[in-house]
Amino acid sequence: METFNHIINGFGVALMPINLWYTFVGVLIGTIVGILPGIGPSASIALLIPVTYGMDPASGLIMMAGVYYGTKYGGSTTAILIRTPGEAASVMTSIDGYEMARNGRAGAALAISAIGSFIAGTLGVVALTLFAVPLASTALKFGPAEYFTLMLFALTAVASLSGKSPAKGLLSTILGLMIATIGIDLQSGQQRFTAGIAEFQDGIGFIVVVVGMFALAEVFRGLEKIHTGTSDPAMRITGKLWITKEEWRRSKGPIWRGSILGFLIGILPGAGGTIASLLSYSTEKRLSKNPEEFGKGAIEGVAGPEAANNSDTAGAMVPLLTLGVPGGGATAVMMGAFIMHGIQPGPLLFQNRPDLVWGLIDSMYIGNVMLLILNLPLIGVFVRLLYIPSGILYPLIIAISVLGTFAINGSMVELYLVLFFGVLGYIFDKVEIPIPPLVLSLVLAGIMEQSFRQALTLSDGNPTVFVSSGISATLVFFSAVSLALPFLIPRLKLVKPEQD
């Protein structure tokens, strides 16, 4: 009953005119960011953080969450019209969505994408509402050892699942943790790796890293593309922006299945929307009576993946809000935003700030309705954004990144660092080192080291504290499995044919 009251009060917060406005601004920016190539949800949220400093934390977080789930809607537009996903999770949509557009059904592809996203997004938030409190109550029993092993599991899972090479994922994770060790060690008061630079004493801000590695690096890649001359022309929206009865009949099942699959995968650390949409696509192809239509414009190949990558965002909010552990790059930046507003996500948030957490969750219901309106009748307006020349767009993103970073501390050192991380992100992309594990470990490092040292202090330095309880032992086991499996699976595959 108490939870029910909190949910109702949450709607009171979400429906306040100021918060409705920020929900709208957030989902609008999200849609634009999703449509435009060159800047993803992580960098957009990071760039918005300085703008939200003066705001009430609830309003600021509602706006940033709007950007996060709004990008998923916008990302499908470019996937369908120019076969270039606006964000990574729309990659599967680009296969059949673009083919539908080529067959003169661009309107139907965009419509089913928006409807599927709305249904899945709303179902995802319902599931988040139902899951949040039980999980938060369980997490309240966690001590420092359990917290440390939980974060260890999140990092190993993300390291293993990001990119093609698990070793590079691990390397990226370690580099993130190393960056986080720069600054004054809060427990001993000693300086670590500051090299005598005063600005380094407070550590390297995660915004600097995120803006550099996500926004600036993406701009460098985009400008390089212009330099070498490779881009697809945008398709015009053809056909009515609605679907036929037959198309709806074929899409219903994939939307339901995609919603459930996306939410469950979203809860797991590391998996994310791209894997959710990939699994949804392969599931629909397997279940279809006409699998040969996939890749040639099957509407199921748009409806399922779009639903999966939208409910994934609600699933990803579950560990972030209830455990304080983000499962990917964008939620890691969201966690950074919480911390910069002086709020620690986790189980205590539901006890200490129910207005904020339920206001945020309830705003997602409203945001999804707004997104449906923005992405159906107004889609023609947004599509015009695709015709902005990249040669104008990319330089503007650099200027926004510079302004956003400088606005935080007014530090020139941070601008040089943004450039450094931009180049590093560009190099990482060239050599296929995934960036999300670095950002995630950077955000988690502080609390992870604190939990590690607290657990050892409480146990008088006995390292068995990390396997002394059932929860922490299980998490250590899962961490080891998630690290080992990617290395073992290819070997098992190699051995099998020889046995045959």
Partner: protein
């Protein structure tokens, strides 16, 4: 991949530098059983493990390629082939981008945000959006002045005014 071998070497080198820097940290064990060096030391082990695993992956990749070569007698699209002019052009491109952005940062305080940004944007737009000078000038100056006024007046952020009187 050829670059993976360089990553392995770079990681080992980084581990050595990080180890050296870790040893310079002053110890203070009051109320802390492990001290400020413990986590960096664990990270050095982690770095070396990552380098070792990547080396194993590189070896496995080389063996797989050798098998493929033996069965096909030819390897189309060999990733270890020397880079063509496009790859080299990419390096020059990124170097030019870094230098121009450094130049922008050098004049950032002196000229002020609005003027420095307008010049930087106009230069980039002239290169990447050629033949549209009017649109480039209007966008560069409009964005720079608009964002300067919005942030300095509306959000109250301290941004260098430089040569501008306001």
């Amino acid at each position: 991949m050829k670059s993976d071998k360089f990553i392995v070497l770079a990681t080992v080198l980084l581990a050595a530098i990080y180890w050296f820097a870790t040893e310079q940290i002053k110890e203070s064990l009051i109320g802390d059983p492990i001290g400020p060096k413990a986590i960096p030391r664990l990270l050095i082990i982690g770095l070396l493990i990552a380098a070792f695993l990547l080396w194993l992956e590189t070896l496995a990749g080389t063996k797989a390629k050798a098998r493929e070569q033996a069965s096909n007698q030819a390897v189309p699209g060999d990733s270890s082939a020397p880079e063509g002019p496009k790859g080299i052009r990419g390096y020059f491109f990124i170097a030019a981008m870094v230098l121009s952005t450094l130049g922008y940062f050098f004049v950032f305080n002196w000229l002020g945000y609005a003027v420095a940004t307008a010049l930087y944007l106009f230069a980039l737009m002239t290169i990447f959006n050629p033949g549209k000078s009017t649109a480039n000038v209007l966008t560069a100056t409009g964005f720079s002045l608009g964002s300067y006024l919005a942030f300095s007046r509306f959000f109250g952020v301290q941004i260098p005014a430089g040569v501008l009187p306001f």
